[in-house]
Every structure is written in structure tokens, then in C-alpha cells.
Amino acid sequence: MQMVKNILLVLLVSWLAIIVFMPKQALYYKMEETLATQDVVLNETSIEEGFFSLTLHKVSVYVKGIPVATVEEVKFFTLLFFSRLSVDTLLVDDSLKKMLPTELNHAEITHSLVSPLNLAVHAQGSFGALEGNIDLSTSSVRLDFNESKNIEVLKSELKKDEKGWYYETSF
């Protein structure tokens, strides 16, 4: 029994150490490098590193050098077996208002070890609210616009079924 206790204690300490000592900022820089190869650049005014999280403040998103959006706050949170990426107040650049909804109030992408090949998506914005999932096994995305409003600009990209409007794509 004592042996089991000791093993559990070592596992717990190792798990905590892995998360707490994780060089989150450097990992974020690595992600920035990867995104830059796809011509996507994130400019943030400040980075805040917590024990379990990394928060970016006032992020500007550039795609091929074109300012696409600004985000008030982006937060990565992880416990390894459960991770969450949350985005607060995303404003799309005015020049793209003909193509995209202009405001995203809050969005969350969560991953859990319970379903390791699925990412759950939840968002609210000027388009209403959407929920969906990203299936990593089939490389597909489905987003259901449950409370759709002002989605005229998106309709050319959406499909409709008995539940309502939805977006579907694969990668």
C-alpha cells in the first residue's frame, strides 16, 4: 500500500512539475514560428505566464501581411488531460466585413483525454452562437449555428439541414 502511495505521489509531483515548469512562452514562440510559415503572424502587446496557463493580451492577427483581426485576450490553459483555448473579443478588420461577421465575443476550443481525437468548439458573437467539433480522426470540422442572426455574409459558405445552418469543411 505504501508503495502504491509513493508511486501516486511521484506521478502527481511529476505531472505538476511538467505543467508548472513547462516553458509556455517558448512553446508559444515555436507555435508562432510554425504559423509564420503559413503567412500568419500574431503580434501581442504582452504575454503573461501562469502556472497552468499562458495569456496573450491585445493580439493583432496578420495574414500575408494584411491585418485581419484584433483580439483582446487569448488564453491557453492546460492540465494535460484537459486543455482549453479561449478567445475574448475578436474584432474583424473593417475591410473584411463583407466576408466575415465583424465581432466574436467569446470562443472556446477544448480538448479532453476522454475523447482525444475530438476538439469541442463553442462561440458567441454578432452571428449568434455556434457549437461544433473538430474531428481529428476524419480531419473534418462541423459548426452548428444554433442561434443564428446576421449570418448573411456567411450564408454562401453554409449549408442547411433540419437543425438549422451549419458549416462543414475538411482539412
Binding site: N6, L9, V10, I18, L42, N43, I66, P67, M99
Partner: protein, 289 residues
């Protein structure tokens, strides 16, 4: 003091051993992360240097009154006269639009007629139709006639022709309304044309294809990969293979520069393009009216 007595341990040796072991685990994890960060992770992020609003190197202004383009009012009047002419006599009552054929019902001089693509009425030829409009052409000009709502209800009740929603995927393509007028030494672009493209970015891609030219990772410029025949871009005198070097004196050497021009297209007063056609460099000038 009593010698040889049993001394109590302040710390349990076993517990101390366990703590020592946990400290080693912590140090190992920290060391592992340190090695990973040192070997594979960058110490600084990638930041985009925001370009300040670049001013054109020069701005050409024509001051010679003899070469001055025709006054604005005159041009507008000409267009208005044609548009407000006999095309207004045609009332669109119904549309049947399928992938292989287009049939519309119109009322002209109190008579109802059924037209298919290519048919002529009052000097106007039916070119195409959308869900709620039809496009007629006369000469080189196009005219859009919208579906007459009240009459449509009547025609439904009499059952002459049913308005059928297009079976094929709805096309967002709308023919631009403005014209490009050749004024001899230069061309005049109707501002409504710029407004149209400013509002409908999809239509830009349908009329012109623009490809980036890269030298390794660096962007050198943009070349024209295709131009739709008869489109306003073709009327501008642009050709496939032309490389656009600058617009209104501003070098087009980044996506942001190109997008910046597009964003402000509605506000420009005149347009000057420097293009490379083969080995030759050309400057094309237009007035926006």
C-alpha cells in the same frame, strides 16, 4: 546531562528520503524542459513589423486645360439618358432559370412576351438572368432589370409562368454597372464601377486573376494570370502576363500594399498603373469620374 540516552530524530529518515526523491524528480523535469527549450525552442517570437501608411512617391495632376477630360455632368448625363430610355419600358414579370436555359416573361407596351436567351425586345437583347433580375445588352452596354413584384403575383395567379428558384447554386456574380469611357488620350473609369468592385470582392476574382511572384521567400510583385474577356479590367488595357509594379506611385511589393489599394479604391481620384509587359515598362493612366 544524561550520557548514553536515546536521542529523538527530529525528522523521520524515511520521510526525508522520500522528500529527497521528489526533489530529484522535480529537478529532472526542470532539466528536461531546459534541454528541450535550449535545443528546440526559440527565445523570441515572430512579430510583424507594421508598415506605416506609405505615401506615393509622386502624384500626377493634369493642369493643361486643353487636355482636360470632359466635365463630369456631361458624362453622367449621357449615361442617364441611355439608362432612362426605353429599357424602362420593359417590365420583368417572371423568370425561369435552369442550368441549360433561361426564359423570362416581360411586359412591353402592355403586351406580354416570353423571351429566351438571345431574344431581342425594343432593341435590347436578353443576356442572362438571376433569381430576381435579368440582364439585357445593347451594343457594348449592359442593363439590369429587376423583377416587378406586383406583376409577379398576378402572373402567379394566372399561371402564365411560374417563377422558379434557380436550381443551380446561386451565383453572387453581378455584372458591374459602371463603364469605362475612352476619351482619346486617356480613359475615364465610372466611379460606380469602383464602388461595385469595392463592395463585391468575389467579382474581382471572377474578372481578373492575380498571382504573386516570389523570389525565394521574398515577394517581388503581382502578375496577371487571366483576364475575363470583355470585363472592365480588359477595357483598362491590361493583359495576361502583365506585372503590376505600382499603383498611384505606390510600389506593390507586399500583400498589405495590394490590399491597401483595394481598401481605398472608393476614395481615389485618379488611377495610374505602372506595369511591366515583357521587357517593356508602361504607365497607364485613368481618370475616375
Amino acid at each position: 546531562m544524561k550520557k548514553g540516552g536515546t536521542m529523538k530524530h527530529l525528522f523521520s529518515l524515511k520521510r526525508l528520503k522520500n522528500l529527497w526523491f521528489l526533489a530529484i524528480v522535480l529537478i529532472c523535469v526542470k532539466l528536461a524542459w531546459f534541454i528541450i527549450a535550449f535545443l528546440w525552442l526559440p527565445v523570441s517570437g515572430v512579430n510583424y513589423r507594421v508598415e506605416k501608411e506609405r505615401k506615393p512617391l509622386y502624384y500626377r495632376v493634369k493642369l493643361n486645360p486643353n487636355k482636360a477630360p470632359p466635365p463630369k455632368k456631361q458624362t453622367k448625363k449621357t449615361v442617364k439618358r441611355v439608362v432612362s430610355g426605353s429599357i424602362k419600358d420593359i417590365i420583368l414579370l417572371g423568370i425561369y432559370n435552369a442550368s441549360d436555359m433561361t426564359v423570362i416573361t416581360v411586359e412591353h407596351k402592355k403586351k406580354t412576351k416570353v423571351l429566351s436567351k438571345g431574344d431581342e425586345i425594343n432593341g435590347f437583347t436578353l443576356d442572362s438572368a438571376g433569381n430576381n433580375f435579368a440582364i439585357f445588352t445593347k451594343g457594348t452596354k449592359s442593363y439590369k432589370v429587376k423583377l416587378f413584384t406586383k406583376k409577379r403575383k398576378n402572373s402567379k395567379s394566372t399561371g402564365s409562368i411560374k417563377e422558379v428558384a434557380s436550381v443551380k447554386k446561386e451565383s453572387k456574380f453581378l455584372k458591374p454597372e459602371g463603364e469605362i469611357v475612352d476619351a482619346g488620350d486617356h480613359k475615364i473609369i465610372d466611379r460606380t464601377l469602383l464602388d461595385h468592385y469595392g463592395e463585391n470582392v468575389d467579382n474581382v476574382y471572377k474578372d481578373i486573376g492575380i498571382k504573386d511572384i516570389k523570389n525565394g521567400k521574398d515577394l517581388e510583385g503581382f502578375s496577371i494570370s487571366f483576364i475575363r474577356r470583355g470585363s472592365p479590367f480588359a477595357k483598362l488595357g491590361l493583359k495576361r502576363g502583365d506585372v503590376i509594379s505600382s499603383v498611384n506611385g505606390q510600389k506593390i511589393d507586399s500583400y498589405n500594399a495590394a490590399f491597401g489599394i483595394y481598401k481605398n479604391i472608393k476614395d481615389i481620384e485618379n488611377l495610374s498603373l505602372v506595369i511591366k509587359r515583357g521587357e517593356e515598362e508602361m504607365e497607364l493612366e485613368y481618370e475616375v469620374n
